[in-house]
């Protein structure tokens, strides 16, 4: 009886009398990530940053094609046309679109090629740091006890290193290269990731579904991968996005100090470092690579912020409460 009544109400609500109800749109289940993406799409700043980042990636991939379009290879020195008569770099707008550097190379071509090193180091170092950090942090938080003590103390030691100084020492011993830059950056950032992940796992492992999985006989490894890790996707995604610009700046700093990617490879840090002798007279030499660096890090930072808001709607609620 009640069942029929409920059925009738449903039919009336659907607007169709009798049995020929128009087929309703099925209710779609949306995963948290889909919901987050829907929220992110509404945020114009984040989308703009995403576009900037995609453009940067394309520039990095097609760097060779772009520079051959310009006609000035990044390491070609145009000593006659690319330098002012007094030996200073030429300004923007003349022979070179963005001006030349102190030995007559095209700044634009070099910036385009510099995108490669920056993005490569930023992304790979972050991926490496996240991989180590998540593994160690998850184990520390999940197992607790003595394992946690050992792993947490290890992370504490890594966080106590005067990292830039030690990084410089490491680079000087192994002689500078892209690979060693990536390794050094990952080496000194994974502990930050590990600490955050550990804190999250500490609360996740007390959840009922972890207990349920365990009572069904799931092993530790399976629980960590299947039950714990998916809950870490949001914070890891946000943190990685914010870690990439840090790694890019770290690489540029190493290059600036002369211990990054060896010259004449064009990197933004190398260019800024090379500009030091003449930038007071030719500010473009400093400003354009700095701008490239600034736009890249800003785009990643803004996107990270947008991602945080999209993945964690709680943050918006705190604001609404006021």
């Amino acid at each position: 009886m009640t069942v029929i009544a409920a059925d009738e109400v449903a039919q009336q609500k659907a607007g169709g009398p009798g049995h020929d109800i128009p087929p309703q749109k099925a209710i779609e289940g949306r995963t948290p990530l889909q919901l987050a993406w829907a929220r992110l799409k509404k945020d114009r700043v984040s989308i703009a940053c995403l576009i900037v980042i995609i453009v940067l990636v394309l520039v990095a991939i097609f760097a060779n094609q772009l520079t051959s379009l310009i006609g000035h290879p990044p390491n070609e020195q145009y000593r006659d046309k690319g330098l002012a008569p007094n030996g200073l770099p030429v300004g923007p707008g003349g022979f070179f679109l963005l001006g030349g550097d102190d030995v007559g190379r095209d700044i634009l071509s070099r910036i385009i090629h510099g995108t490669r090193v920056s993005l490569l180091v930023g992304v790979v170092a972050t991926a490496l740091a996240v991989l180590i950090g998540v593994s160690v942090g998850t184990m520390a938080g999940y197992f607790g006890g003595r394992v946690d003590t050992v792993l947490s103390r290890t992370m504490d030691v890594f966080l106590s290193f005067p990292f830039l100084l030690f990084a410089i020492s490491l680079v000087s011993v192994f002689s500078p290269s892209v690979r060693i830059s990536i390794f050094v950056i990952a080496f000194f950032t994974w502990a930050n990731v590990g600490r955050i992940v550990r804190g999250q796992v500490l609360s996740i492992r007390e959840k009922e579904y972890v207990e349920a999985a365990r009572s069904l006989g799931a092993g530790d490894f399976r629980i960590m991968v299947v039950d714990v890790l998916p809950n870490l996707v949001a914070p890891i995604l946000v943190y990685s996005t914010l870690l990439i610009p840090t790694a890019i700046v770290f690489e540029a700093t190493l290059s600036f100090l002369g211990l990054g990617v060896p010259i004449p490879t064009p990197t933004w840090g190398n260019m800024i470092s090379e500009s030091q002798g003449t930038y007071l007279q030719a500010p473009g030499f400093l400003i354009f690579p700095s701008l490239a660096l600034f736009i890249t890090t800003l785009a990643f930072n803004l996107l990270g912020d947008g991602l945080r808001d999209a993945l964690d709607p709680r943050a918006a609620r705190v604001l609404a409460r006021k």
Partner: protein, 321 residues
């Protein structure tokens, strides 16, 4: 509390031992080459080589050199002698430390007085125009590398002022406070602001975030319901607990900077600990590298302990065990 401090201090000593050990392994085991021969240079005579080996104990195994190093440090507070000019490392560090300390502490004052008010302004009117402006400032500051900002400052405030006949800021160098306070300040203003603008960004962000969270708490509603003025609610009740994360960050940042603000020192040629360390790394001056790494790590370890203590004093909910 006492037990906590002792335990943390002991762990700090262990951390310093591990770090110094790591540096020794890096330079004695991993790094290629005969240290004494490198140091002696091209026109090296066997007598001089023997002399160097005797003086610096470079002919012994690295583990016994480490043991010797630790023993000298603990018993005499001695950090050895520089390869380059044979000066005691301790004297070099003490000589360079005031420049670094002036830079770090002065910059901290500037970034706190920039960052915290901006954070408060943003948090008290979330989503307003001034919040947007504050957030933009914070993100821009976070995205600009220290060396870029430093070079930009040099271009604008040193070079442009100088060529327009209004020279005020010197381009580089450091003048001790005891020698001439006015010159000391003039030499440090640009470095202070370089470091401060970059850091103020994260301070304003953290102040904003944490104050927003605190202002949503029940006791703030109670304070408002009692009829307290908004000023009092924010500054007396809100800010006190909102500043706890700021104190944490401040401790770590100042601790790290006291061990050498490498980039800022390099841009402005301040000749502090950081610059000394970088020069030593480039020249392979091992005793100075060991000394400066240990010096920097010491400040980081002490800062961490102080931060934990401050945390307990500021936040009644935290108990140290």
């Amino acid at each position: 509390m006492g037990r906590f401090i002792v335990r943390r201090a002991l762990f700090g000593v262990v951390v310093l031992a591990i770090i110094s050990f790591a540096v020794f392994i890096l330079f004695f085991v991993v790094a290629p080459g005969d240290k004494a021969a490198n140091f002696c240079g091209k026109g090296c005579t066997p007598e001089r080589l023997a002399q160097i080996n005797k003086l610096y104990h470079l002919d012994q195994s690295w583990i016994s050199q480490y043991w010797l190093y630790v023993k000298r440090l603990v018993l005499h507070g001695d950090l050895g002698y520089s390869f380059n000019n044979q000066q005691p490392v301790r004297a070099i560090i003490f000589d360079r430390a005031p420049a670094t300390a002036s830079l770090a502490l002065g910059a901290a004052v500037v970034w706190l007085s920039l960052g915290i008010p901006i954070g408060i302004l943003a948090a008290t009117k979330p989503r307003s125009l001034r919040d947007r402006a504050a957030t933009t400032f914070a993100l821009a500051g976070l995205s600009i590398p220290t060396f870029v900002l430093g070079l930009l400052f040099l271009y604008l405030f040193f070079y442009q002022l100088t060529i327009h006949g209004a020279a005020f800021f010197p381009g580089n160098g450091y003048v001790p406070l005891t020698q001439n306070p006015w010159e000391w300040m003039k030499h440090l203003i640009l470095p202070w602001f370089t470091l401060a603008v970059v850091s103020a960004a994260s301070y304003s962000r953290i102040t904003r975030g944490s104050l927003l969270e605190v202002l949503g708490e029940d006791y703030i509603r109670t304070a408002r319901a009692k009829g307290l003025s908004e000023r009092r609610v924010i500054y007396r009740h809100g800010l006190r607990s909102a500043l706890t994360p700021v104190v944490t960050l401040l401790g770590i940042d100042v601790g790290t900077l006291l061990g050498g603000a490498i980039v800022t020192e390099a841009v402005f040629g301040l000749g502090g600990i950081g610059q000394t360390a970088v020069t030593a790394v480039v020249n392979g001056d091992l005793p100075i590298i060991f000394g400066t790494v240990l010096f920097a790590a010491f400040f980081i370890v002490v800062a961490n302990i102080l931060v934990d203590i401050a945390y307990a004093l500021l936040d009644a909910r935290v108990r140290l065990a």
